[in-house]
């Protein structure tokens, strides 16, 4: 028999049992009993006070992506909980393991539209892997146990537990459950079908122009080493998805960068021309594939993913392999034959050099442009020995294009939901997960302003997060679409910006603005040398756009290429 514990105590003790030592949140009326128990019983859990619940949720997300552990966010009912929805949606789309705990009004008030009541159970259903509404303390321990299990196993994702206030105050004899009862959830049946693996191996062995597309599933399964072995043994070029960046060193001779809407031209050419495509741990979403029916027209496709619902979702798959990426890779490695594809590799090299000739960095310009900053950041960090947390927009694409990621989990970014404002709070979570790591926020001026309130969390937690704002005075990516598809009518995209240096200084964060190319490297060094957070406001050329670009619902073969001078600068 366990001891008598309150619902609040049960929450904290369960978190301790799950190995949680940090949570991100903001207290409020409906979660007060639980916060009180944290204070009263002094649990060995550090509470990071965010300034907005969306921030708290992104912090848990960044922590989870950087460490691979479950991130925990805790907030109050009503607006506290609804503010978390963007964070949960972000985590859901990118398969991040989060447990979100929200207070709810007391059971006697449920459904009566009382102060700060919202149907969080209903609202969060489409953006969580699973969720709970707890109206009886007897259900609380098992819900917590299940939530952590569901969040981190199988295809990871966010799980929300909404706990009524009176449940937090009630007491019961508590013992953390040792057994689970989830008859409809079997994440450990994750061995690939041997027939499917055999077929996949045969296709790869016989391929003349094979290529791999590696997604985040590789990093979740920790299969980076096996991916590299497979590529090297069978001599197969590897591209990644945006979230797959870091799963294969982008400096490796077999690397073909990352593909899709703003992928390098050679990446997309290689995608369109390959005869066997092996996609593993990637969702194959529209930003990667372009118009589905035009994607990889000459290829037979092998799609390996843990989630059976990804099979045939967007594309028709020749060989679906449902299973864990690591187990799949290990099986494939026993059946794959050493191979050479000299003509194919040579063709890709030729495409690569074509791209290099047109590279934006090769253009003669004195203007300060983001690609240059990203390449300098790569140099300044000993060729990428840091974690970059990028926001969403043009800078995100330039970061992915010009910063060469070689380390696993070294790029954290909101790929699926495309959540502007993700970077700053996610970087806070990442830095708390890895205190010794050099962490760089790369954000646009638009996205930065969506969550810049969390600068105070950086200061409060004494985190040495470095911030680079790519400031072009526009909602840049939206402006780019207006340039290309809306005849340059800049509806709603010019920004009125504050002085970001003064903003940072108001929080006690040293800062510097950078307007000239020659200053970039020194400024980066100054930020790195400072023992604490530092903000750099890079005031870049306003009208530079991201190339190559594939128009939405167009084929990846129809890229808008460089040169930039013809399409911009007017």
């Amino acid at each position: 028999m366990g001891e008598m514990k309150t619902g609040g105590q049960i929450i904290w003790e369960s978190l301790v049992q799950e190995g949680v030592d940090v949570v991100f949140g903001i207290p409020g009326g409906a979660i007060l009993p639980t916060y009180d128990d944290l204070f009263k019983y002094n649990y060995p859990i550090h509470h990071v006070l965010a300034t907005h619940e969306q921030g708290a949720t992104h912090m848990a997300d960044g922590y989870a992506r950087a460490t691979g552990k479950v991130g925990v966010a805790i907030n109050t009912s009503g607006p506290g909980a609804t503010n978390m929805i963007t964070g949960l949606g972000t985590a859901y789309m990118d398969s991040t393991p989060i447990v979100a705990i929200t207070g709810q009004v007391s059971t006697s008030l449920l459904g009566r539209d009382g102060f700060q009541e919202s149907d969080v159970f209903g609202i969060s259903m489409p953006v969580t892997k699973h969720n709970y509404l707890i109206t009886n303390i007897r259900d609380l321990p098992m819900a917590l146990k299940e939530a952590f299990y569901i969040a981190r196993t199988g295809r990871p994702g966010p799980v929300l537990i909404d706990v009524c206030k009176d449940v937090q105050q009630a007491s019961m004899e508590f013992e953390y459950p040792s057994e689970l009862n989830l008859p409809g959830y079997h994440p450990h049946q994750n061995e690939p079908d041997p027939v499917a693996v055999r077929r996949a191996a045969q296709m790869l062995n016989e391929a003349k122009r094979p290529r791999i597309v590696a997604g985040q599933g590789i990093s979740i399964a920790k299969a980076e080493r096996e991916l590299r072995q497979l590529a090297e043994i069978a001599n197969i070029p590897v591209a990644t998805s945006l979230l797959g960046i870091g799963t294969f060193p982008s400096t490796h001779p077999l690397s073909v960068s990352w593909g899709g809407m703003h992928g390098e031209a050679y990446t997309n050419f290689a995608m369109q021309e390959c005869d066997v495509m092996f996609a593993i741990g990637a969702r194959l979403d529209d930003r990667l594939t372009g118009a589905f029916e035009t994607f990889a027209p000459k290829a037979r496709i092998i799609h390996a993913d843990l989630d059976p619902a990804e099979m045939n979702k967007n594309l028709t798959i020749d060989t679906p392999v449902v299973g864990d990426a690591l187990l799949t890779m290990r099986e494939l490695l026993t059946q794959i034959q050493p191979n050479e594809h000299p003509a194919w590799i040579e063709q890709i090299e030729e495409w690569k050099s074509d791209s290099n000739d047109r590279d934006i960095l090769a253009q003669e310009t004195d203007e300060l442009i983001a690609p240059y900053i990203m390449r300098e950041l790569w140099h300044a960090t000993d060729e990428g020995n840091c974690t970059v947390v990028s926001d969403v927009g043009q800078h995100q694409m330039w970061e992915a294009q010009y910063f060469r990621h070689t380390k696993r989990r070294s790029l954290l970014t909101s790929g699926g939901l495309g959540t502007m404002g993700y970077a700053l709070p996610a970087a806070i979570g990442a830095q708390i997960g890895h205190p010794e790591e050099e962490i760089w926020v790369v954000a646009g001026d638009g996205g930065f302003q969506m969550t810049m309130n969390e600068l105070s969390t950086i200061v409060q937690e004494r985190l040495p997060v470095k911030l680079a704002i790519i400031n072009n005075g526009f909602l840049g990516m939206v402006r780019q679409w207006q340039d290309v598809f809306y005849n340059k009518r800049h509806s709603g995209t010019p920004l009125f910006n504050p002085d970001f240096v003064k903003i940072a200084e108001a929080y006690g964060i040293p800062a510097r603005s950078v307007t000239r190319k020659e200053e970039v490297f020194d400024a980066l060094r100054e930020a790195q040398a400072f023992d604490g957070p530092f903000l750099l406001d890079f005031q870049v050329e306003e009208f530079t756009n991201v190339y190559p670009m594939v128009a939405p619902a167009k084929s990846n073969a129809d890229m808008i290429r460089r040169p930039i001078s013809e399409s911009e600068g007017e």
Binding site: M125, H130, N131, L182, Q189, D193, N312
Partner: protein, 188 residues
């Protein structure tokens, strides 16, 4: 049939009888834009397990997606497609028809022909119950329209595999003990 052909499928899902489970299933259908014609929920033979019968229109790919997406829900225990397995299916309708002296006898004759039942009679109406296939219910409704239908309710389809075909139902399981076989994803 090609992969583009749209057809109607009768499917069964067994779900844990937990709060919100109907919400989860119907929400999934809604947000993924699946074309559900009917959905019926009730108890199954196992305590704590509810059984849903639903009729969905779609291509092979759509139907595969419906199954796999449903199966991802934590509270969904199994999903099976009965369409190509011998099964019985019925729907129930209650129809309240305008009936007065002079028309009542004619209505009762139709009720006999359709082997339906009259479950309530009043001065100006009769209420008819018919448990049958959808097309027979449609036929009766068409014939009753001339008298004036005051109210009507239909249950949606209920389906069960024939005793002789139970082994086929087993083979139709969404997921074998050893994970997902490559054939499960073949599109015709």
């Amino acid at each position: 049939m090609t992969k583009q052909d749209v057809s109607r499928h009768t499917m069964i899902a067994w779900v844990e009888d937990k709060p919100g489970v109907l919400n989860r299933v119907s929400g999934l259908f809604g947000r993924r834009n699946y074309n559900i014609e009917s959905l019926t929920v009730g108890h199954s033979e196992t305590p704590g397990v509810s059984r849903m019968t639903f009729v969905v229109r779609g291509t092979d790919r759509d139907i595969q997606q419906v199954r796999m997406q449903l199966y991802k829900l934590i509270n969904v225990l199994d999903v099976r497609d009965l369409t190509d397995i011998p099964h019985v299916h019925y729907e129930m309708a209650l129809i309240k028809v305008h009936a007065v002296n002079g028309t009542r006898a004619e209505i009762m004759r139709l009720v006999d022909i359709f082997r339906a039942d009259i479950v309530d009679v009043d001065l100006t109406s009769v209420t008819i119950r018919l448990a049958s296939k959808e097309d027979r219910i449609n036929a009766l409704l068409r014939l009753l329209q001339q008298f004036g239908i005051k109210e009507m309710v239909r249950s949606g389809r209920l389906a069960m595999v024939r005793g002789s075909a139970e082994s086929e139902l087993e083979e139709e399981s969404s997921k074998s003990e050893n994970g997902y076989a490559v054939e499960q994803f073949e599109l015709n």
